[in-house]
Symmetry: C2
Subunit: 203 residues, 2 copies
């Protein structure tokens, strides 16, 4: 529909994946998308918002993918971990873009708030869908069986852990492999309790 907007987002993703946040120069984005700088700023009020919007578009793609190809697993835990594995693999496939987006998301600039909230809501919905083992929350699900308090809490929890683990990776605290390990360890604790998470004594 909005051809111009999509082109801008394409360019932003391309530049971000090429050289990270700093490589996304607004002048370059505008030039490569074939629009004037003022037009770019009319669509996106800041660089942060632009990158958040790019991420949100990717989330839409993911939603469609999960709908036709839901996370598999015997238990809620397995499905959630499978879903987070897919999500995380997507981030690591474009690591520089991922870092740029994390930076934009955590920047806290007001112009990006709405986009961040939208992204957060999408991932939350997908997480609850994974908990339930469905492709997505249809209107019927959402009305007939709205997310329970438990589902909401677990989805929020797992998303927060996943997000923080990614930020840790981006900041240099942990490696790519450790991100998934942390998510899996977290899922074990959340779904089975601290006691089941290790052979050592409880705390």
């Amino acid at each position: 529909m909005d051809d111009r907007r999509d082109k801008i987002l394409d360019v932003a993703v391309e530049l971000a994946e090429e050289g990270g946040f700093d490589n996304v120069r607004q002048r370059d984005v505008a030039a490569m998308a074939g629009v004037a700088l003022g037009t770019l700023y009319k669509s996106f009020r800041s660089k942060e918002q632009l990158l958040c919007a790019a991420m949100e578009r990717e989330a839409e793609l993911l939603e469609r993918r999960m709908e036709t190809n839901p996370a598999k697993g015997e238990s809620p835990e397995e499905r959630v971990v499978a879903f987070l594995r897919i999500l995380t693999r997507g981030f690591f496939r474009k690591p520089k873009f991922a870092r740029a987006v994390l930076r934009a998301m955590a920047s806290g600039v007001p112009a990006a708030a709405a986009t961040v909230i939208a992204y957060h809501g999408r991932i939350n919905g997908l997480m609850i869908a994974a908990l339930r083992g469905v492709g997505r929350l249809s209107f019927n699900d959402a009305t007939a069986a709205p997310p329970t308090a438990n589902e909401g809490a677990v989805a929020m929890l797992m998303q927060q852990i996943w997000f923080a683990a990614l930020v840790g990776w981006s900041a240099g605290v942990s490696s790519q492999a450790q991100v998934m390990e942390q998510v899996e360890a977290a899922a074990t604790i959340v779904f089975r309790g601290v006691r089941g998470s290790s052979t050592g004594p409880f705390l």
Copy 2:
């Protein structure tokens, strides 16, 4: 000891609390600290690193406070929640500074990596101390009873949830009150399991 460095950090905190990340102008920091711009950049290689260093200094203060005044509570869960309440209150006491620091921490700029890791390590130590109910991990503790896998996993988990909740607040996803609610809900799930966290049916 390093008078100059401390003065710079004081100014950074002051400006950040006054008007957030954008209000910390490097020229102003240098001028108000009474040093040349080049000197500022010799101590701190970027604005992000400067803000992270300011946060790390606050963490040192907190360490001393927790040592003489450990988090109180009958159980590990209570003590960890009490500790996180103190930590979070500190953030909310200077909300604009807090937002600025979160932005800097999550920026992923290489120059700040070491500082972020140091901060992360400090909080982790304090979290384990709270789990155990001691003021801090003395050398004896760390050698005679190094953190178990469970302790490490729980501390990491709780720190991640707390951090992500704060970023959510900074980005406009949740309110100050919701941050503490999320941390408490997370603690309930982590320490007592999903089943104990609600009156509703399990997932």
